[in-house]
Amino acid sequence: MTRSALRTRAKATPGQRLLGGIGEILITLGIVLLLFVGWELWWTNIDAGRTQSQVTSQFVQDLNMGSPGASNAQGEADEDFGTAPITTIPDGETFGIFYIPRFGKDFAHPVTNGVGMDVLNSVGIGHYPDTQEPGEPGNFAVAAHRQTHGQVFWNIDKFQDGDKVYLQTRKGFYTYEWRDTEIVHPSQSEVLLPVPHQPGAEPSASMLTMTSCHPPFTTRMRIIAYAELESWRPADAGPPQEIADLVTRTMEN
């Protein structure tokens, strides 16, 4: 290559410089998009996980329960405490902790009133405000993300026969047993009715309905898991034996 050829190459024409600039911008946009995917799928989990464990330990400490699981909880493990009372839900507040062993041996996440992104993106599980309260006949319905922002309900498709869902509120511990799971369209709000899919029906059971998106990483459908209130324990009787360790660990965190 001659010296003059090298010089013309080094000195780009305005057209070439423009193209080069556009190329740089496109590469930048590509990198920013990759960063966004990384942020959404990875960073939001770290961020929301930290918020949720803070809210959880704050809530459990506020309940100020002494040390359950140590003395009295063992002896009366099977005691029947009758009908569960209703936990009234204050506007926009965290009112309970969900313990779901099937979702992970350390699964303890707060549940807060409201299903706006302000709730789901930070504190995790949100209660549909127009549905019933825990202990009330009807449908106590909650939502959480399947992935991103703590991916609280990532394992919602893993429920098996006999699986329990525990809810701790200031009244005590509600034990729900998983019934079934279905996949519906995002518009099918009849799953939130007092008796799911039956408008106007009079509820007799206290249901817990958990909703999240499905399949993972899409918003095409919703996955709905139903559980039914099976028993309850007042706060001073201590947690059910199955989660006594988990509750103690959550309190110590």
Binding site: Y128, T148, T219
Partner: protein
């Protein structure tokens, strides 16, 4: 564009390299605190609720 920015940075080469890294870091921080949370509402992964029209 980037070559032009780099040539405008003051100081010796090592200083300009550090400065460029700082500029990139602050751009990423800005994206993470403001741009991505806003963009997140259009992302396909964050819808998990059911329509509330009937209730």
């Amino acid at each position: 564009m980037y070559a032009w920015i780099f040539s405008k940075l003051p100081g010796p080469l090592w200083f300009r390299v550090i400065l460029a890294a700082l500029l990139i870091a602050s751009a990423v921080l800005l994206l993470m605190t403001y741009v991505f949370p806003w963009l997140s509402q259009y992302s396909p992964w964050t819808e998990s609720t059911i329509g509330l029209m009937l209730l």
